[in-house]
Symmetry: C2
Subunit: 141 residues, 2 copies
DNA sequence: GTTGATAATGAAAATCATTTTCAATAAGTA
DNA sequence: TACTTATTGAAAATGATTTTCATTATCAAC
């Protein structure tokens, strides 16, 4: 099953209807290599679906976030950008020039985080790690 | 020299004037154990300075950020909160219940971050690490 | 395939946070 | 003290997001 089919199935599962607008928005989000904000999604989606309203973009993205398919990404350029979520435990590497986002794994700092929390009398719940730099393409420019 | 004196001196250094409003806002920011957004600073400062306008809070906080005295903190509850900056390289541990923020040091992952970036053909520029959990006081409630 | 209940849509209005404008005021230097 | 000019706060402007609501479209039941 393709990712898009999985996403649409999840929508259906929750009793939501499959509409042309939702399909178009999902297409954009699944294709994008970088996190997008609602206005960016709106502009990109309108190329193929000019009558789309931005309200529908807001509603659809919020809904996809609740379904665990999109996640919010915080960057210097804004905290209202969303990226398709990858299953499992990962962290992000983001290009400061073009915004390309890459999930990476392999680092495991949990124990050290636990120790720091303990030292400070905190009960650790979560952690947030994000790397930023220039992606391959953007280094050459 | 007290921290407040250092802050006021930095303002003066940049040709800015010392006003009662700025002093009151700085008092609140230096006293707070957690990151605050402009509206919170406004409410807290108005207790001692009821005629204060919120525009002045926005302007003062932006200015303190540019001076490197405040930093923006990103949290689930909002990305417009500011915390007094600590000199040197630190990371934050934030209570998800009360917002208390603690700087910690001692962890050094730079080499591993470098390696991850390299593996992904990125030129590393920065990293962002933040831990969250329940602080000592909030665990007991 | 029709029908009907109701979820979804988009335009417009409302709301909320932040920024800009501007006349009055206050800080700090001479 | 007098003067220059940065600062202030009210009000207006802006920009992003949310709400409202009449219309339309989906999809399950016939
Ligand atoms: Mn991790
Ligand atoms: Mn670090
Ligand atoms: Zn790039
Ligand atoms: Zn706490």
């Amino acid at each position: 099953m393709q990712t898009k089919e999985i996403w649409m199935a999840k929508l259906k599962e929750k009793g939501m209807r499959i509409t042309a607008q939702r399909e178009a928005i999902v297409d954009i989000l699944l294709t994008s290599e970088k996190a997008l904000d609602p206005l960016e999604v709106y502009d990109l989606t309108r190329r193929s679906h000019p009558s789309l309203g931005i309200v529908t973009v807001y509603r659809t993205m919020e809904c996809l976030e609740h379904l665990g398919l999109l996640q919010k990404v915080h960057q210097a350029c804004g905290c209202n950008k969303y990226l398709k979520l990858k299953a499992g435990h990962h962290h992000l590497l983001i290009c400061t020039n073009c915004g390309r986002a890459v999930y990476f794994e392999g680092l495991n700092f949990e124990d050290q985080f636990e120790k720091v929390a303990e030292n400070n009398n905190f009960q650790l719940q979560d952690h947030w790690l994000q790397l930023s730099g220039l992606c391959g393409r953007c280094q050459k420019i």
